[in-house]
């Protein structure tokens, strides 16, 4: 009987490792880093080439005179010239500083607001739908009020940026906390996570994907609000990307205008890519990337 049990146990061990090996075989596929980067890059490069070609074709067609729509070559040369002077960099710095300050403040407000609403049923009933309503308000519509309140100042821009971004971030937090799977909450509580520990060990990490989505959307809103603000609130002592757009239009300097637009576009793309990378890293850790077929 005893020897029977022993062989029984040994057989079980072999069966277990056999089953495990069978079940997870073929799940790992390694693609080289270079191949992956190239696969992600070439469609973007191709699309860029097509856009530039189309632009050049429109210019050649003579649809608009070259002083209002210059070709890619002229704009490219202007961009190089701008990159050598201090003006672009000063403007860039001002804009980035405003973006950073406004965004960080929005994140703080959004996270606190979202957490408060997610936790309290009273707050949710009171301002839950108001947050969504705020989100639908085009940020440019806040500017008249902002200018009345703060005059043509940086504070007015700041006000609109925060109003634009904070609701999205708060909504991300709220939906993240709302959709934490109840089973994980039960498991967490059974493992001894109560009160603040439940937030730390279960709710916060489970809500992270939704929170990152909210942060990303909040960034898009704050960046747009900032650009709108800088276009309207011109004339405060500092130059900025938005102000340069306005100046170049007033001077009818189309190459300058377009090169500034390119800088704004590239900045937006870079930050978006950073959020995209964060989002992807989270989804990979969670194992939802494979299911999406990516």
């Amino acid at each position: 009987m005893a020897s029977d049990t022993l062989t029984g146990a040994a057989r079980t061990d072999a069966q277990i490792s056999g089953l495990d090996a069978l079940e997870i075989a073929g799940r790992e596929k390694e693609i080289s880093r270079g191949t992956r980067i190239w696969a992600a890059t070439w469609p973007k490069l191709a699309a860029l080439a097509i856009v530039i070609a189309a632009w050049q074709l429109v210019v050649w067609s003579g649809w608009k005179p070259p002083y209002s729509l210059p070709g890619p070559l002229v704009v490219g040369r202007e961009l190089l010239t701008q990159a050598q002077g201090p003006q672009l960099w000063e403007g860039l710095l001002t804009t980035l500083r405003r973006a950073a300050v406004g965004y960080v403040f929005s994140v703080a407000v959004g996270l606190l607001l979202g957490l408060a609403v997610a936790r309290s049923t009273v707050l949710r009933a009171a301002i839950g739908s108001m947050i969504t309503a705020l989100q639908t308000m085009p940020s440019i519509a806040w500017f008249p009020l902002a200018i009345l309140l703060f005059e043509l100042s940086e504070k007015a821009i700041f006000f609109v940026v925060v109003l634009g971004a904070a609701p999205s971030i708060a909504n991300g937090v709220i939906s993240g906390v709302d959709y934490v799977p109840p089973l994980l909450l039960r498991a967490g509580r059974n493992l001894g996570a109560r009160g603040l520990n439940l937030y730390r060990y279960v709710i916060a990490p489970a809500a992270l994907p939704a929170i990152v989505a909210g942060l990303k959307q909040g960034w898009a809103f704050s960046w747009r609000s900032l650009m709108a603000g800088e276009l309207i609130v011109v004339g405060i002592s500092q130059t900025s990307l938005g102000a340069q757009l306005t100046y170049s239009r007033e001077l009818s300097d189309a190459p300058w205008l377009l090169s500034t637009m390119i800088v704004i576009l590239v900045l937006g793309l870079v930050v978006d890519a950073a959020f995209g990378a964060a989002d992807k890293a989270i989804r990979r850790r969670w194992g939802v990337l494979d299911q999406a077929g990516q």
Partner: protein
Amino acid sequence: MTSTTTTPGSATTAVALSDVTKVYGRGANAVLALDGVSLDVAPGEFVCLVGASGCGKSTLLNLVAGLDRPSGGQIALAGDANPGLMFQEPALFPWLTVDGNVDVPLKLRGLPRAERRARVAELLRTVHLADFGRKRPHELSGGMRQRVALARTLALDTPVLLMDEPFGALDAMTRDILHDELERIWSERGLSVLFVTHNVREAARLADRIILLSSRPGRIIYSTTVDIPRPRRIDSPEVAAIAAEVTERLRTEVGRHGQ
């Protein structure tokens, strides 16, 4: 309604339920889920709760786990143990590795890092997953995930294990192996297990005692001791005979609701 208290149980019972009642809702909509359930689980005993749908099996486990409060009656756990609870789904945290998942209860108990690392390694060896600590849950099969969940529950160092159809979603082969594994771990550690299943054969394979619950409201209607020597095989005639007997009772109970 009688008062509800949780008191330390005596040395002879690991889990003691006396006259436990659970009502959901109020007034005309009130549903009686459990009606006067009294049940003792001895230290080291393996008890299987069997019943058709709506018998309040999961409700009972939630009450014992302290995730819900009974409407009446008393639940006592030996030495005020915090029982470990396992579900049909592994309920692993997808943002953590296998190691990280097993580490959570140890962290919450405030153990020092070095000790935690040793414990995690030992627990993963116990469930034959020593080489998979750095994997993420989604990289494992269903049976492996359930074993990680078992290791994570064992990390609570609790003498009482509550299992809510833990192998219900697994294929037969994997389930057989996990029965062997659970039996081994249960006897090595001297655990008291309260195991809910609707699979009568599984109950006969695992249990020292099978308890049959009626449906709506949940009441204990039948209890039988399983004296088949271990290790058992799920396809042995003795297990089949017990299963047939319990199935017959279960059929009668389900039929009662059809009238």
